[in-house]
């Protein structure tokens, strides 16, 4: 009972088994099997699901703040995109002399803009280790600075949602500018290789998929550990009755700030995994609409369940791929309808629906007392 891992429920183990299983199985299906085998996985499917898995990580991060702490961030796409840009900058530096202008140091767009030397922000990005640190550090720092101000002055609810939206909108405008130094509206693209492996090759794609799936599993374990710890209980209490928690003597802003930063870092990692798989990052990723769409993944899957968020991201994006291919006219109707119907009829999402179906079988009594007993037990310990 003492280590958080043991608190994983059956669903949690199932989820871990699925993600880790996918991480192992997909390379076998995609690479080891002969191409004409019935079970062989075409490379485009691997790339597609790799993208979905990255979205799932983002959804997980969002669920951590929204589902467990009640912070509805409409700007999580900003952290995702920042992580993506950090990775994109590493990939740009790897192009080297293979670019159109064959400049060993400067990426093509800088040569095109007639820049003579590398801006400070780009220093060090030739190193993968440095880029990896930046992937986590930049979204984390931004979240820290933003959260430090916002939570301290008790900006909550709708106001907070709107300023997170303003944050990502401001970043979008900034990154659209050429002189901001990140490729303007074309963004970063034409990547060649990552750690010496060709980004386009099937093997690299498959490896990236497996890494993404493992990252999803790891993020889940981390998030689950956070929310089921004593700290996590306080977070849930903040979500349900913020003023009461404050009156009890908790520093609410610190709790919020910690989880917000963790969430932003996870979102940044998701973005960093996303960019090599789709091969481009541009300011469009900062669009407020993207961030709101991520919220609906969480809502569809089931807010405050972590697994549901990941599930929702994959289901909604799968539907998006299908709809935009089959009936492009109707995708926005479907997405819009999803927003309305889920909030009206499925406040707990798909996972909530499944749980509710299973609920009558087990006696309802232990449902409510369980959290209380654990809290009491922890407090005693």
């Amino acid at each position: 009972m003492s280590t958080p891992i043991t608190r994983l429920d059956r669903l949690g183990y199932l989820f871990l088994a699925l993600t880790i299983g996918a991480a192992i199985l997909v390379p076998i299906l995609a690479l080891a099997l002969p191409k004409d085998s019935y079970f062989a996985m075409p490379p485009y499917i691997v790339a597609l699901f790799g993208k979905y898995v990255c979205y799932a990580i983002l959804a997980l991060a969002l669920d951590l703040v929204w589902g467990y702490c009640g912070i509805l961030s409409l700007g999580h796409g900003a952290f995702f995109a920042l992580g993506g840009y950090a990775m994109g900058m590493y990939l740009m530096r790897q192009i080297g002399t293979r670019g159109v202008y064959a400049n060993p140091i400067l990426p093509d767009f800088m040569v095109f803009l007639n820049w003579k030397e590398l801006p400070v922000a780009w220093w060090g990005f030739h190193s993968f280790a440095y880029a990896s640190i930046m992937v986590m550090l930049v979204p984390g720092l931004l979240a820290f600075a933003f959260g430090w101000f916002a939570f301290r002055s008790r900006v909550t609810g709708v106001y907070l949602s709107i300023i997170t939206q303003a944050l990502t909108y401001a970043l979008k405008l900034a990154f659209f500018r050429n002189d901001f130094g990140f490729g303007g509206n074309n963004g970063l693209t034409d990547f060649k290789d990552i750690l010496g492996f060709n980004v386009q090759s099937d093997a690299t794609r498959t490896a990236l998929f497996s890494i993404s799936a493992l990252t999803l599993a790891l993020s889940y374990v981390l998030s689950k550990a956070i929310v089921s710890s004593k700290y996590g209980k306080a977070l849930i209490a903040v979500r349900d009755a913020e003023s009461r928690v404050r009156f009890l003597g908790y520093r609410v802003e610190n709790y919020k700030l910690f989880v917000f930063v963790v969430s932003a870092v996870i979102a940044g990692i998701a973005g960093a995994l996303y960019v090599p798989q789709v091969g481009i990052i541009n300011p469009g990723e900062y669009d407020p609409a993207n961030s709101i769409e991520a919220v609906i993944w969480v809502a569809v899957g089931g807010r405050g369940t972590l697994i549901g968020a990941a599930l929702g991201a994959i289901v909604v994006n799968f539907a998006k791929t299908y709809f935009t291919g089959a009936f492009p006219e109707y995708w926005l109707f479907a997405l819009g309808g999803l927003f309305v119907l889920v909030t009206l009829f499925l406040p707990k999402g798909i996972l909530g629906l499944i749980m509710a179906r299973r609920a009558p079988k087990t006696p309802t009594k232990p449902e409510t007392p369980t959290p209380e007993t654990t809290t009491v037990g922890e407090a005693a310990r």
Partner: protein, 528 residues
């Protein structure tokens, strides 16, 4: 009688011949095709005031004046390619333009030609043409036109034209080193009074070139005064732009402020209500018979209010009332509604921009001093004021407004006093959406009517509401004015995009200080 008539005829003929001789001499100079002779001919043409002087000069300037080497005839090639005799104006056939020689001109001659044409028009009977001609001389500052300007000024009766002529004369005299210092100083004064960028350019030149110290000093002091004046005007112009931008923001945001204030929910579909209003305008315009076209906007205003308001009531009844007490879920659901409405309009009307024409009284622009503002923008400012005042009246002077304010301040208390809060919610949402529809009519005049119209305004509207707070509508007004003015005043200094980013950062920081905006609700309602 007959004798008299014959005498008159002879006299007229002689007169014509006399003039004809002078004209022939002039044209002969052009046929010589030497720069010095051409220069002289241009001066004579300008002085002659003959009817065909202008077409000849124009042809000369455009390289369309040709010489027939055999017949010693000047030929004008018209822009359509016909060849006509420059002297008589009759059409010439049997000539090929390629076989003729062009009368050569250089840049010095070209400026003389422009000045000559300018001075010829100085005698035009239409005062507006005379002003235009004087302006042309002002811009060319050709010393050779000075005589013509002086002559025209002596005869000029129209005060506007006389002023334009005086400025043209000043422009020439200020730059002419041969003019006496006192006259040049006087000329600089005239230019200073004109005080625009052209005048600044001339005085700049004078200050750089003048030898005489008094002229130089006068030029420099005039320059300083014009600079201050221009800066002031451009500041005022930016303020006017700012007020205009604020009026648009106010129209778009005020409905949002009402729904947010009363129900505590952010309506993400608010922008789509604006879009519906714009499309209503488009439909009204395409259905109206032509004789009613002038009234299309007046008819569209109430219709847009009704259409958007009805849609708002529908959304409230079907979606929002089931989400009462869950503002974040409402935000998501209304976002879904906005996606559906966008796609609906796109499916019905296509993704392209739709054309909404402005009635004649709204087109054109108003100029005052150094200011200029389009009439459409002025009407939008007026509409914003009318909407603001009427909303204040509705809120302050009607029983519906009283109830609405009660629900805003304390929903449960209002409910206990017998106010049907559900009904107020519905009506408030309808009112807010209806005003968004009215905003749509206004925006159809200055923006593209497309399914994405609302998206462009929604974030700005949020910022206005967040800045202003929901305590009362003055907050919204103040928020809109602050953002609109700050945006337009920052624009010339650091550029539009950077200005916008700065404002967003400012709002993010501002909300830390005043988490509920400038005009927050006071009392217990806040902690709900």
């Amino acid at each position: 009688m007959i004798v008299r008539f014959l005498a008159l005829l002879v006299f007229v003929c002689c007169a014509t011949f006399a003039r004809a001789d002078a004209m022939d001499d002039t044209l002969a100079k052009l046929i010589e095709n030497k720069f010095s002779q051409t220069q002289a001919a241009i001066g004579e043409l300008a002085a002659s005031g003959a009817a065909n002087a202008t077409p000849i000069l124009e042809a000369l300037g455009d390289n369309r004046l040709l010489i027939d080497p055999e017949g010693h005839v000047l030929v004008i090639q018209t822009p359509s390619g016909d060849l006509i005799n420059a002297r008589t104006g009759e059409k010439l056939t049997g000539l090929i333009a390629d076989s003729l020689t062009k009368v050569r001109v250089n840049n010095a001659l070209r400026s003389s030609i422009d000045a000559a044409i300018g001075s010829l028009t100085l005698a035009n009977p239409d005062p507006a043409r005379r002003v235009a001609a004087a302006d042309a001389v002002f811009k060319s500052r050709d010393p050779k036109a000075l005589g013509a300007v002086q002559a025209a000024l002596a005869k000029e009766a129209n005060p506007g034209a006389a002023e334009a002529l005086r400025q043209a004369r000043a422009a020439i005299m200020a730059l002419d080193p041969a003019t006496q210092s006192a006259d040049r100083v006087a000329a600089i004064e005239t230019l200073k009074a004109r005080g625009d960028e052209d005048a600044q350019g001339i005085i700049d030149e004078v200050a750089a070139k003048a030898d005489s110290p008094e002229v130089k000093a006068a030029a420099q002091s005039a320059l300083a005064s014009i600079k201050t004046r221009l800066q002031l005007w451009s500041l005022v112009q930016n303020v006017v732009y700012g007020v205009s931008a604020s009026s648009v923001l106010l129209l778009a945001a005020i409905g949002l402020a009402i729904t947010f204030g009363v129900m505590g929910v952010i309506n993400m579909a608010h922008g789509e209500m604006v879009m519906l209003g714009a499309y209503t305008t488009f439909i009204v315009q395409s259905l109206l018979p032509p004789w009613l076209a002038q009234w299309s906007l007046a008819i569209a205003l109430p219709l847009a209010f009704l259409v958007a308001g009805a849609m708002g009531v529908l959304i409230e009844r079907l979606v929002i009332r089931y989400l009462y007490g869950r503002p974040l879920e409402t935000l998501l659901a209304t976002w879904g509604v906005s996606l559906i409405l966008q796609q609906l309009v796109r499916s019905l009307f296509g993704a392209n921009n739709r054309q909404v024409v402005a009635p004649t009284f709204m087109s054109g622009s108003v100029e005052w001093g150094g200011l200029s503002i389009t009439a459409g923008r002025l009407w939008i400012i007026a509409l914003a004021i009318v909407v603001f005042v009427s909303l204040q009246l509705v809120l302050r002077a009607t029983s519906f407004g009283l109830r609405m304010r009660a629900v805003t301040q304390n929903r449960r208390m209002a409910s206990s006093m017998g106010i049907s809060t559900g009904r107020i919610d519905m009506l408030a949402f309808g009112l807010g959406s209806g005003i968004a529809g009215i905003a749509g009519v206004a925006l159809s005049q200055i923006d593209n009517v497309s399914p994405n119209l609302g998206q462009g305004y929604i974030i700005d509207s949020f910022m206005v509401v967040v800045l202003g707070g929901v305590g009362n509508l003055w907050g919204t007004l103040l928020g809109a004015l602050t953002l609109g003015l700050a945006n337009k005043l920052l624009e010339p200094v650091i550029g539009a995009v950077l200005g916008k980013i700065l404002l967003l950062v400012f709002i993010i920081l501002f909300i830390q200080k005043r988490p509920r905006g400038l005009f927050a609700l006071k009392g217990r309602a806040v902690e709900a």
